[in-house]
Symmetry: none
Subunit: 225 residues, 2 copies
DNA sequence: ATATTGAGTTCACAATTTGTTAATATGAAG
DNA sequence: CTTCATATTAACAAATTGTGAACTCAATAT
């Protein structure tokens, strides 16, 4: 079977590694394993996985350290990193998310949950391989250059503003619920107030100078030209 | 709003139940509650929820026991069961996953996280009730864009108006009783006067400019072209 | 290291829209 | 011509979004 994606599993407990390896392999993923921090870093560099599952508690650099080191390298800027945490490990978990992990999975691992989470992550990854320029009328949005143009004149948008605009413009006309927007731009578990979206919307409207975002009261926002 | 799914919440702490109930109800889920294990089992059988949220520590059968009992029945083989665990509750948690729970949520509950998890679960289990465009003659209703068109000319409808029109148009010719309409659009437990429906109907007629909703005196309304 | 900058967020409150009700009119059926 | 259910209208209440200012925090420059 053609591999759906490459996953690096790093944990010092062989049993855990084996459970995860078995279940994910069964699902068609290509698996690489490591049993300590240094090993994880080396294997990561060698095999360039799409996803890295890191145990927090590991000998020779713990998961958080590994994550920090990898994240500092351009090659791993976009690699999805998921932590394995023991439930007692709350503080590490918080730390983990701060460090740039994309998700966490609690031990003991339920194979069912594990597999569905991993699937979800890959769905998310694969969904946006097509970072392409959006052109609608006199508006142009280039996600690669991270730049928007109105009448060929560049408009400087902040990151969140840009992401928000790109999201809305990616499906013109379609209404995005506030919740959808939060999930897409901020992530599932990030908590921000409701007014925050409005403020960003306002800034986009302000900066672009054209009326391309329509409010659908009680529902959300949509891009319209 | 049309109920997105039915959720049973079982916890002996009324405050917790209320928080969860409030937040999920706001999101359009239909909520049933129970405050002990036996109650939970009975309510589950009666209301056949799509998802069950079980507190682990409950009087008269704890969450794990309830889960085991339900799982033993064919009717609940595929029902999603989620545990509520206090952080201190580790051993129970482990037991829970072994028993066949699909996920767990830690107390104290953060409403935002709760909601996004529940959404995620429903996305996973839902066969996506296919929100699709309705086209009848020169009328077009697009629930994704949240937009209605008459002769290709957009008509701006408010949320309730749109929902009502979409409901009626989803089954042309069929008469919807006033009670049905109330349940579908407002929800079972919301109380609004009878005139409210009339007013919305009137606005729809007014805005669309075409006569597509027929009054069936003493019964309800139906969509006709 | 410290200062500076600006993105991102939040807050209080204004502005606006939507939803509901109450009062009255209309119109068909008996 | 009464009755009953719905239609209409305007006034009111509730919900939602827009706005300006302040604040936090991290990245960047000094």
């Amino acid at each position: 079977m053609n591999a759906k994606g490459k996953i690096l599993i790093a944990d010092d407990e062989p049993d855990i590694v084996e459970i995860i390896r078995y279940n994910l392999n069964k699902e068609g993923y290509e698996i690489v394993t490591a049993n300590n921090g240094d090993d994880a870093i080396q294997k990561a560099k060698l095999s360039q996985p799409d996803l890295i599952i890191l145990d927090i508690m590991m000998p020779r650099k713990n998961g958080v350290e590994v994550c920090e080191i990898l994240r500092a390298q351009p090659a791993f800027k976009d690699t999805v990193i998921v932590f394995l945490t023991a439930l007692s490990d709350e503080s590490s978990h918080v730390k983990g998310l701060e460090t740039g992990a994309d998700d966490y999975i609690s031990k003991p691992v339920s194979p069912k949950i594990l597999v569905s989470r991993i699937h979800a992550i890959f769905r998310r990854i694969n969904k946006e391989p097509e970072e392409k320029v959006i052109k609608i009328d006199n508006l142009e949005i280039d996600p690669v250059k991270f730049e928007a143009k109105v009448d060929s004149k560049a408009v400087v948008l902040a990151k969140k503003e840009f992401e928000l605009l790109y999201l809305l413009a990616s499906k013109p006309g379609r209404v995005f619920l506030r919740n959808e927007i939060l999930n897409q731009i901020w992530g599932n578990d990030v908590i921000v107030g409701d007014r925050t979206i409005d403020v960003h919307i306002r800034k986009i409207r302000q900066k672009l100078g054209i009326d391309c975002i329509t409010t659908v009261k009680g529902v959300g926002y949509k891009f319209t030209m």
